[in-house]
Symmetry: C2
Subunit: 271 residues, 2 copies
């Protein structure tokens, strides 16, 4: 985590509750300033930006946010337009919808909007993302990889993400799509990287001090590979099964926290 970061990330595993208590989206609103929040909905990930954008506008309106902008950026030319940059500069919270994480990075990467997002985050706004919007937050992101499979190197495709959170790789829809294998594969390739698997209707809020707290109905699985004693990740053939020994795993439900700097889980009562 860079020292100068002032912002907060809310990384959501997809399929967050949108009709009940809306606990996670409510948390996004709260962190972004409550009723005074100036929210921007970024639909770059989805191929149905209008429908998805309006859906979230309706929900955030129900949660009493007064200022809501939808940014349906569908080209890199648009992503360099000054009016979009100003909207981001004026916001207190950005919400990335689901879709395809490669759409986010290929549309926005290196543009003026991208630069404005990074600066706004350093300055102290909230950046939230669900599903693809969650994956895109890390420096290196998982793009593709078989679910419900034993860990194998060749099923995993990664790409450079938005780099809002360093030294971690995030996976979403985690338990629901059986993605432990592909997250283990990602961690094996560089055990310095912490794996964070976020279940549906579950989120982590990452504070500037490197502490995250879990919200929502399911769990967050943290895969710490630093103590790995052996892996065949470099020498195994592409279709061969991976070997990994001595991985440390934490499963954290709502209220639990994790210290990304010290890499230790914290119980709800502890401080």
């Amino acid at each position: 985590m860079g020292d100068k970061v002032q912002g907060t990330l809310v990384i959501i595993g997809g399929a967050e509750d949108k009709t009940g208590r809306c606990e996670i989206l409510r948390k996004v609103v709260e962190l972004a300033g409550g009723e005074e929040a100036r929210l921007v909905i970024m639909t770059a990930a989805t191929e149905k930006p209008e429908a998805v954008g309006e859906d979230y506008r309706r929900i955030f309106k129900k949660l009493r946010v007064k200022e809501i902008e939808i940014l349906n950026i569908s080209s890199r030319t648009e992503a360099n337009q000054n009016r979009y940059v100003q909207i981001i500069q004026n916001s207190t919270g950005i919400f990335f919808t689901g879709g395809d994480q490669l759409r986010i990075t290929s549309l926005l990467g290196g543009t003026a909007v991208y630069q404005a997002l990074q600066e706004a985050y350093l300055r102290g706004i909230v950046i939230a993302g669900t599903s693809a919007g969650a994956s895109a937050m890390s420096e290196t992101m998982i793009v593709e990889g078989d679910s419900d499979e034993a860990p194998k190197k060749n099923t995993l495709k990664m790409a450079p993400g938005m780099g809002l959170i360093a030294e971690v790789v995030v996976d979403q829809h985690f338990a629901q799509r059986g993605r432990i294998g592909r997250l283990l594969s990602a961690v094996a390739q560089n055990p310095h990287t912490l794996g964070i698997g976020i279940d549906e209707d579950t989120a982590i809020a990452v504070a500037a001090n490197g502490l995250f707290e879990v919200y929502g109905s399911q769990t967050v699985t943290v895969v710490d590979g630093r103590q790995i004693t052996h892996t065949n990740a470099s020498e195994s053939s592409p279709s061969e099964a991976l070997a990994l020994t001595n991985i440390t795993l934490h499963v954290l439900p709502a209220g639990y926290r994790f210290d990304l700097n010290r890499r230790i889980p914290l119980e709800p009562s502890a401080d």
Copy 2:
């Protein structure tokens, strides 16, 4: 592991190759004495004993086993018949097919056949089981529990298994059905118990000295909970998500071994 055990277990994660090299079934035959093996196919788990039994007879015949008996036991009365006991006493290897693990234990538990099986195993035969036949081998077995779900206590049902292997709980079709959550739940309930998740077309051969070796195309996931620093397993409400911190995980492909007594993985080259 009891000191007096002489037998070998082959615990198979289901869907083992039956048409290609048949690596796992070939291993079963080899351990049971090769062409001189006297194999017994136990179909108690399945509701289609004739079809399943004949299927395995054909395969084992192709693998050059000369003496093959199929035991289609479908009642506890049959499971007490002396002729079945004699067949087991005369065997060098028993193969449990897939189906429902509760059928195995509810049909055989406490009968003369069950007793004969235990004695034959202590004496030194091979007992193999695939899918339900794999689950039934441990002292406590997983009967039911949601796959592709975050770990939750209430989705997990366990029952007393055949007790051929102590202090472990086995799960099968592991990666393919996304069962890490339910295995973690099982381990959280008593972290003394080692969790062993076996993928499809993958098996472990457990020797009398407590070492197992991995065979087949996928991986075996070992969940060691002894170092768990915190779990809410006892106080959480049934539908609540489980918390587990500091679990140790090993992912082992073919050729890797694991020492059940010392709980350490061994690389193929090491000894």
